[in-house]
Symmetry: C2
Subunit: 454 residues, 2 copies
């Protein structure tokens, strides 16, 4: 048995004992208790400690394990650990990482430090690969890919390919397929490991490979890569440059991270949280992330107050008008968020032929009319029973129009944001609520003023 | 070259030509133009057609391709196609599917029809596997897993293992690892294909396998499986029963679907959409999905109206009180949604040691006090400049309290929903907005009534 990995349950007892060991700088306990533990579990454990404590634990681990643990830690913690080391020592850590993770970490360093680290990397191939990866934006295929790939030539046979796998095996952690290229390194397809195992040694690759055209270009956006891998259930996808030459591969675990981050970002935008924070961040960070949209909402409310004050005379005459202000604004907000969520969904999962803007708006209007009539009908009946016919008319007419306007706003704003390059989920947050509050107030008071002064 | 797959770009021209062919029942064009196209692309194409048209196209495809296409279609379309066939014919389609997809489809059929299909499946092993899979709930590991696995015995050598791979290769589409079991089928670990390729024929499995304890139990919930696979970057995970015997495997593509669906469900809950609808569903479906929460919001608004009416005397005396109703309710809503989104996030990505409820609430209160003081300060200044000191005091005191209460509500409600087994994201939607509107109104008018009657 080559590799014994201890199953690890992070118990409260162990955590307390470990915390004590960190505090007392008990090197021996820490080293012994982490021996044989998966690096992902060590990362989870260190997430409970601050930068200084994590740095201390990292320095007790072998460079190989510490490098992998580091990849999963918070950027501040990682950066503070790296800053405390010489570039030559950092280079030793980097050599243990796959190129995609190594490039991400190098990207976080100041340029001069990064250059010094690169100069200290012993493998010339690796530093050349890293230099290449650093050229790409982080959110495109080039920025996601790793250089570790196993490829074979169309004209090679199975034995030659197995030799190539042997040469590269140590560098490439997980092998899904062997990519097939021609003499100019142009990607032609792939051959599954299964097929290599089951083929005769002298079988030529060109007789067993699949000419599969699923690949991405270095410049494609990570969401396009995610869509492709999701659609075709791919565990890895080859990356080619503009000349169709094979330059790297992206694995599904990176795409799972992209999808998870997208969902998280969307939730934050919908909730009006302007920074990537977590419940256990500091009070200061949490406040900073939450205040901007609250202040914008507040100024929206102040504009609303100023607006209502224009109609002070109507309000003095019919105090009951004030009763239905929250009903009108809340309904506008709810309708707007529903509409924008549906648009965001259609933007996230576009169908092959999305209908044109015109037919989309017509549909939105139809749904709004049905919803609006229903809601206005209920409100008319109930207000008429308890108040005057006039007030019932004002509230229900205003409500119907607010439902229409909020539906249109909720549909057009995310589409516009998307066109302008912003995340459309922004439109499902406090932004649309604030805008719809103001629209609701305007409609309500204009209708009231008109009807009461006939 | 064994397998030529044509790269497929769904152009508008092709789509129009294809639609025409569907209308004219042009079998030849449809068969020829779909020949060699990936089944995922055919699924995408058929998504633009109704059940009857899709059924017609499916019946022109080979059973093998049609079976794979069907898996990705909407349930109604699939069901209507299946209903039009005899159980014996459906059995032929099912035989081409991997067991996890086959079980999902069987699950959608009426029990009697399903039994008839199962009785018609020729491979006895397959029908036994399917019967086993049908026992599990759809959202647990047993319901997600496929029975297609390649396993080897601890005491076998590499040649015996390759023989086993050869025997199973046709059934198992993608092989990531070969699982290692003992004589009682108890899972011991796995051996990577890479290692099999690079090892000598007579090497014993027990000398090269990794005793890796990452597995899931059949009864574990799909979200636990997703968390495990995400944490350890797994492309597949073995599933064991309570006796630790290997019974199946789950692949990452199914987990990507789980993660994507979770995000979608959360978006809908946050937006107050009560059914899984898409923009291009019918007006009737869209209305049905949107009305329930709108009506609940409406009744919330009517309760609010009744509440304000209690303070009619105050409002008549100080009309300006009405100006700030939207400001107070909107801020309460915004704060509540932010708080609940943070709680939902911490429930989705739990840290190893989440702090207790007490320290959590203390933190929430601290953040709320800082935010509340800041917002109340701005409002006090601005209202004081344009109105009276008394009104400025009422609005700012009410606002501060609303921020505190909305923060607490936004934190406690999702925690309570989670405890009760509901999706906590429900608390970030119209539910919390409506509740906070009412709390905001209550606080505002009670403060106003108190201060104006001193």
């Amino acid at each position: 048995m080559e590799n014994t990995i201890v199953p690890f349950e992070l118990s409260k007892e162990y955590f307390d004992r470990f915390s004590e060991a960190v505090e007392l700088r008990d090197d021996i306990f820490i080293k012994e208790s982490l021996d044989g533990i998966k690096y992902e579990d060590i990362t989870t454990l260190l997430e409970e400690f601050n930068a200084e404590e994590s740095g201390y634990v990292l320095s007790l681990l072998s460079k190989e394990i510490a490098a992998d643990v580091m990849v999963g830690l918070d950027e501040e913690v990682r950066f503070s650990f790296i800053k405390s080391k010489d570039p030559s020592e950092v280079a030793e850590y980097v050599e243990f990482l796959e190129t995609d993770d190594a490039a991400d970490i190098l990207n976080e360093m100041p340029v001069k430090f990064r250059e010094e680290v690169l100069a200290n990397i012993k493998s010339k191939e690796k530093s050349r690969h890293l230099l290449e990866l650093l050229r790409y934006e982080e959110d495109c295929a080039g920025g996601l890919m790793a250089k570790e790939i196993i490829k074979t030539n169309l004209n090679w046979n199975v034995v030659q390919t197995i030799e190539e796998i042997r040469r590269q095996a140590e560098k490439v952690e997980k092998i899904y397929s062997v990519y097939v290229v021609d003499d100019d390194n142009v990607l032609l397809g792939r051959v599954a490991l299964k097929k290599i195992i089951l083929s005769n040694d002298h079988t030529l690759i060109k007789d067993i490979y699949e000419s599969d055209h699923l690949h991405v270009y270095t410049y494609q956006h990570e969401e396009e890569v995610a869509d492709l891998m999701r659609k075709y259930d791919l565990e890895a996808v080859p990356v080619v440059n503009v000349s169709d030459q094979l330059v790297g591969r992206i694995t599904i675990d990176d795409i799972v991270d992209v999808i998870t981050e997208q969902a998280e970002q969307e939730r934050q935008l919908m909730a009006g949280i302007s920074e990537d924070v977590e419940e256990d961040d500091s009070v200061w960070l949490l406040t900073r992330a939450r205040l901007p949209w609250l202040v914008i909402g507040l100024f929206g409310g102040l504009v609303g107050a100023r607006f209502i004050s224009i109609f002070e005379a109507d309000l003095s005459a019919v105090t009951a008008l004030a009763f239905f202000i929250p009903l009108v604004t809340a309904t506008g907000g709810n309708v707007g968020i529903q509409s924008s969520a549906l648009v965001v969904q259609s933007l996230v999962n576009p169908s092959a032929f999305s209908s044109g803007l015109k037919s989309k708006l017509l549909k939105v209007l139809l749904v709004a009319i049905v919803n609006g009539l229903f809601l206005a009908g209920i409100v008319f009946g109930l207000v008429f029973l308890t108040n005057s016919l006039k007030l019932a008319s004002v509230v229900s007419i205003a409500l119907f129009n607010v439902v229409l306007l909020a539906s249109l706003m909720g549909t057009l704003v995310p589409l516009a944001l998307d066109k302008l390059g912003f995340n459309p989920a922004l439109a499902s947050g406090p932004f649309i609520t604030t805008a719809n509050d103001l629209i609701g107030l305007a409609v309500y008071f204009v209708v009231a003023h008109t009807l009461y002064n006939i």
